[in-house]
């Protein structure tokens, strides 16, 4: 039985017709709503490529059933900022030329954005801990750290 699940995405009301209540949010965003940013990396909550914010918390949309976001606010990287009004992390990631293939970058920025909101003055060690589990196969980690520290300064 198909049901309709309503939620907001980047501030806009959206609804998705869902056949399988277990369908992860990622498929609703990508396949139904044709959004580009959250990516499928692993499907088992091990890489972060699919990260979005649900009511401000960073979550892995590849394992979160779409039915769980009913009535909630989902934010993707488009909602984080735009070239006209960039989030400080986006500015910093551009400044530091972080992404190589860039497939992972959504996960790093969305996770870091949610974390820095809670802990803007986090130390290096705390940042590394908060970002544990995220993958970057191209090995851009050192520039990611540089970018996050740059963003921290801008946000301070």
């Amino acid at each position: 039985m198909a049901t309709i699940v309503k939620f907001t995405v980047d501030g806009k009301a959206r609804s998705v017709k869902v056949d399988d209540p277990a369908m992860p949010l990622l498929y609703a965003l990508r396949d139904d709503l044709k959004m580009k940013a959250p990516h499928f990396g692993c499907g088992v909550a091990q890489c972060g490529a699919c990260t979005v914010h649900v009511d401000g918390e960073a979550v892995r949309s590849c394992v979160l059933p779409v039915t769980a976001v009913k009535g909630k606010q989902v934010t993707t990287i488009h909602g984080l900022g735009t070239p006209q009004q960039p989030h400080p992390l986006q500015t910093a990631f551009v400044e530091e030329q972080v992404p190589q293939c860039g497939y992972c970058v959504n996960g790093w920025m969305m996770t870091a954005a949610a974390f820095l909101k809670k802990k803007p003055k986090a130390s290096d060690g705390e940042i590394r801990e908060a970002l544990a589990g995220l993958k970057c196969r191209c090995g851009t980690h050192v520039s990611i750290m540089r970018a996050i520290k740059r963003a921290q300064k801008q946000m301070a």
Partner: protein, 758 residues
Amino acid sequence: MNAPTEFSHNRRDFLKASGALVVSVAMAGLSADALAQTGSAGKPPLVPGELDSWVAVLKDGSIAAYFGKIDMGHCLDVAIAQIVAEELDVAFERVTVYMGDTATSCNQGGASGSFGISAGAKPLRHAAAEARRILVAAASTHLGVPVGQLAVADGVVSGGGKRISYGELIGGKYFNAKVEWNRKVGNFMDIKVQAKLKSPADYKVVGKPFRRRDVVNKVFGTMDWITEISVPGMVHARVIRPVIAGSVPLKVDDAALRSIGDARVVRASNFLAVVASKEWDAVRAAQALKVEWSAATNPFPVMEKLHDHIRAAKVEKSEQRVKIGDVEGAFRTAARIIEAEYEWPFQSHASMGPACAVADVKKDSATIWTGSQKPHYTRDGVAELIGLPAEQVRGIWVMGPGSYGRNDGGDAALDAAFLSKLTGLPVRVQGMRADGTAWDPKGPASVHRARAALDASGKVIAYEYISKGFSRVNIATNEADPSDSLVGQELGMPLKPVMGYGTPEESYGFANKRLAWETIAPLLARSSPLRTSHLRDPVGPDIHFGSEQFIDELAAAVGEDPVAFRLRYVTAPRDAAVIRAAAAKAGWQSRPSPGPRHAGDILAGRGIAYAQRNGTVVATVAEVEVDRRTGRIWAKKVTVAHDCGIIVNPEGLRYAIEGNVVHGLSRTLMEEVRFDRNSVTSVDWASYPILEIQDAPESIEVALINHPEIAPSGAGEPTIRTIPAAVANAFFDATGIRLRRAPMTPARVLAAIAAASA
């Protein structure tokens, strides 16, 4: 390489789409002479011998460069734009590089062997210079000013008080000028032209740190990776690979699919897939489908015995790459012989996302969108698989989720094409995690035997290094032949495996020296999840993990500082220079390894390794901390000295080096494909862990050595081959213990420490 009508059409559309107007009237303002060279607007065929295949001046005076390779975020397209801008004398910003589309570029081999600049830029550079020559000649005729009195600045030719722009001269029209193709296809495709190249002394654009063009879209989520490509009417597919390696589907029960949307099974011979209009339906159909597989045949050895298997296996092919002097004779006179063996595991590309491809196969034409890094070859393989002439198939490369060699991208492309042909619909294939980790072609496992003879004074009088392992090209490095793809093998195509490996690349001047390799048969010939092919710097980290550790073992044996020892034996001046530069930048203290023993739980050490690769030379100093309670090795600081000839873009180069360092650390410390007798058990990031940010270095220092007088060589891979031994040598320096088995996991470190103190 004919240029079919199909392509002319595409190319024409493309020029229109990119802002050029293709007109069919003779160009105003050009003399008959210039016209003879630049021609009217007829579309020349897309062949390397046509200047128009490489570069175009669009109506607005901007420049299009057609590159038959691709950039995976290494800034390669920026470097190509710099080189083209330089030779054409236009601003960098005016040049757009179109990459990896078989309808607009010739087959330059795709991403391959770090040849992007060293070989790939050559025809573009030559074409740009030739275009400038033709344009200046045309301007001379048009303005009535001799060529010698004309100068070009940002695409405007001026002299004698007159001026005309490239756009006015030819914008939107074709050159119709011949260039001399060297008849090579792939990496070494090049052209000869009449124009004289600019001297590096006059460079204004090359050598500057221009920024990348893909970064902004990646950061704002506005970029299309291959995973974002969508075609009207497209269905989603998941290919079902056997749970047991080498088994084939006997019975397929699709009863469970009836309740999953429009999901259905598609099968041909041993190739099995599900398709559905909705992606999630394809995913759950693949999970729900009941398949009875043929029985297990235990193709793999017990994992712990893998290297014993390699040692014992029959040598199928061998090659002696270096043979200097009388090695055996020298060993007979040795005062001392030192021997060691090193082991390297199977490793996976494990790209950030499993591969994706979209195929639209029609009756007499097809388009394939692929993240494979060699799209022209992908096109060839697709054409062969679906039975169309290559000219009727267009391959379009789109940035994939990571790419470090022959990963799962090629298989996804051929899977998608085959499914599109079977269903008659456009098909999008994306793997699940296991397709990228368990089923990608692997970097081969190997054993490396080293021995050296010392005379009474401690001088090395003979050296031998022999690598034995699975072939680096059990399947080819591209998918031009479908028998090198999983679908081709599942369809029973005859296999054409090749044997190849490699030897250390260095300039140690030992009087008697032998470097050789030996390859053994694959564990499973057909459809193997452990089939082997190219993984970033194919067999480079593997070989130099042993060879550069062994050099350190020799230094330790004679009680000499590892840097001084290397400098005593390297013969190439550029090699000595990078070793010195890395040591200087890292603040290397001259003393033998291991360092003084310290009490405490954290032991610190430093190690160096160096290697050459196709003209590039790299030396790396790793400074590590070893936690003796947990066995964790942390490469806290890594210093790289890098010489790749002339530097085109220092910023891009620095990033390429950093990526190499981290990828190399991950492979040195963590990566090992796990398997049991019947299947690969590394299926996700938990069973194939890679380096995460806690273990990333605190800093990576880079010393770039620029040689404007030396042609550029590659930078995408050379650094990674120095990382494993630099870390292992630092570990020895810290602990006095040799770890000759990669990856150097905490469990192995703890075991080694326990064994050493027992």
